[in-house]
């Protein structure tokens, strides 16, 4: 049994990361919740968030946290574009069509990204030092990333529950046909929802870029994590995504002191399949 402070440090690290995972998953789950589309371009969109932040930092010398708002605005626009080009026309087609349409966007982004950025790893060379609490040492960038993820979540909820447009998003998510009868411009709301979903994904990507090196394929890893998280928290539920992210972060922090790190994904994905089978509405969802 490893010493308790090693476990605690590892768990805390994992938990902080979990908030960022949760943020990424929130983008995926929002899109599913509003239009029942599993966005298979989620990973590359996260990657674009990473590259966006990287270039604003590296080329324009912007402070990473000032660059982040620009990155997410780009993410929003990107989402609107993806929705308009690839998603809108197949929204009412069978699931396979939306899955493949978003996957085609995935291929296009990765294709363009590989050509433009190559596959060499990049790194946002930026540090905030560390916070020391007793024997524990928390990296500043991780603490800020977790806080930023919480801020994004609060902003999302303020939008969904306090603004007129946000209420329309919820109405469309609830029942599109009824919302249309009430005069809600559903196409615009759907496009906006998709945009917000990608906004959250690029936001998560930007934050992750301040933590780890990455290349064009890195987003794929977080896409898979997002699936796991969405299933933990219940597909379509943003709070569930944040909680699911924290659970995943906890697992990732808690397991390594006990087992070789390679077993973590085994446990994650087995958990994922098992939860899908026994509780497809997620740990939090009603049965």
């Amino acid at each position: 049994m490893p010493p308790p402070d090693v476990i605690l440090a590892s768990v805390l690290d994992g938990l902080l990361l979990g908030f960022v995972y949760g943020l990424a998953a929130m983008g995926l789950t929002l899109i599913w919740g509003v239009m029942e589309v599993i966005n298979l371009a989620h990973g590359p969109v996260i990657t674009l968030g990473m590259f966006g932040l990287f270039f604003l930092f590296q080329e324009l010398g912007l402070h990473p946290y000032l660059a982040l708002p620009l990155v997410v605005v780009g993410g929003l626009l990107l989402g609107l574009l993806i929705y308009g080009v690839a998603v809108h026309r197949v929204l009412d087609a069978p699931h396979l069509s939306t899955l493949l349409a978003t996957f085609s966007v995935n291929m296009m982004i990765i294709g363009l990204g590989t050509a433009a950025f190559t596959t060499t790893p990049r790194n946002v060379d930026f540090s905030l030092g560390a916070v020391e609490i007793g024997p524990l040492r928390l990296l500043g960038t991780r603490v800020v990333a977790a806080l930023a993820a919480v801020l994004f979540t609060l902003a999302l909820y303020a939008f969904l529950y306090r603004t007129r447009t946000g209420k329309m998003v919820r109405a469309v998510a609830n029942n599109r046909a009824a919302a249309e009868l009430m005069g809600i411009p559903s196409t615009r709301i759907l496009a906006l929802s998709f945009g917000i979903g990608t906004l959250l994904a690029t936001g998560a990507g930007g934050l992750i870029a301040t933590l780890f090196p990455f290349n064009i394929f890195t987003g794929g890893v977080y896409e898979l994590k997002s699936f796991v998280i969405c299933v933990l928290g219940g597909l379509g539920n943003p709070t569930g995504a944040l909680l699911g992210g924290i659970i995943l972060g906890f697992i990732e922090g808690f397991i390594p002191p006990f087992l070789p790190v390679g077993w973590t994904p085994v446990i994650e994905f087995v958990l994922f399949v098992v939860i899908l089978l026994i509780r497809p509405s997620g740990l939090l969802g009603a049965r």
Binding site: W32, E36, I38, L40, V85, A86, R89, V90, A93, H95, L96, S97, L99, L100, A101, F103, S104, V105, N106, M107, M108, I110, G111, L112, T114, A115, L224, F227, V228, V231, L235, P260, G262, W263, P265, V266, E268, F269, V270, F272, V273, L276, L277, P280
Partner: protein
Amino acid sequence: MKRLKAPALWTILAAVAVAGIWPLLNRSATLREDMFLILMFVTLASSLNILLGYTGYVNFGHIVFFGLGGYIGFYLISQQGWHLIPAALAAALVTTLLAALMGGAVLRLRGAYFALATLGINEATRAFVTNFKPFGEATGLSLHFSRYQEYGGPASALWFTYALLVIVTLVTLLVSYLVKTSKFGLGLMAIREDEDAAMVLGIHAPRAKTIAFALSAFFPAIVGTLFFFKNGNIEPGDAFRLHMSIEGIVMIMLGGFGTVTGPVIGSAVYERLRGYLLTTPLFKDLQLFFAGMLLLIIILFVPSGFIGWLRERSARLREVLQ
């Protein structure tokens, strides 16, 4: 058997046989390698089509059968000294059995939930194999050069493997056709159209789906063994490449969902196109981008694929083109 008198079946089998035998006559190794990939994708796509096209269940993890079968076969050959043929068959049987067990559970999920679960199974298996000692963990397994002696040296081992692949491909297509035109296949298609209605009509959907799932696992497992035997090594990244799973779906969509010929044409066109893009300097770096664009165009404008599009033209074509 009246069904076996269908000209469409023999046309496609003959076409594949001729294309398959061509490199054997030419003794051209490059041609063989090109054809190997195409035939491999034909079997992957055709077997996937049994579940995806006939039954309507979107399997994102089809490649897990290829990877798992590949690992089992490769293990038997490299660690247990088995011959390629029994190893491939054993791998296929074990994989099919595992699929049957898994299918019973996952096939209760429908739509996107099923798709996600299959993706999870692939990733869980990959992660497990990466930590599994007998399969060489993250580095995988490799075959000692001398093991090819049994087949008359490395060169003839490659030809031998290729010849086996040609046979496996033909058998896969025959099975795909027989399933499609059988009562069982009709039941699968009824499930695809409306599972609850199909059950009310008397179709034992849970059993039919599980059989389709298990059957779709058999051929990829053989092909996995052949492919990795040919390569001489196997590692988790190559065996469980999610991307390949989805490419299989793309090929089916390209040629025509739920038809026997569709996946053949789709695989051939997709593979050739990729080969062309890869060897044309202008497109080389952007091949994935163009492949994605092609896919999007198909989804948006020709969702039933090439063969599907033809079949929609007339009832006669619908009957001829299975």
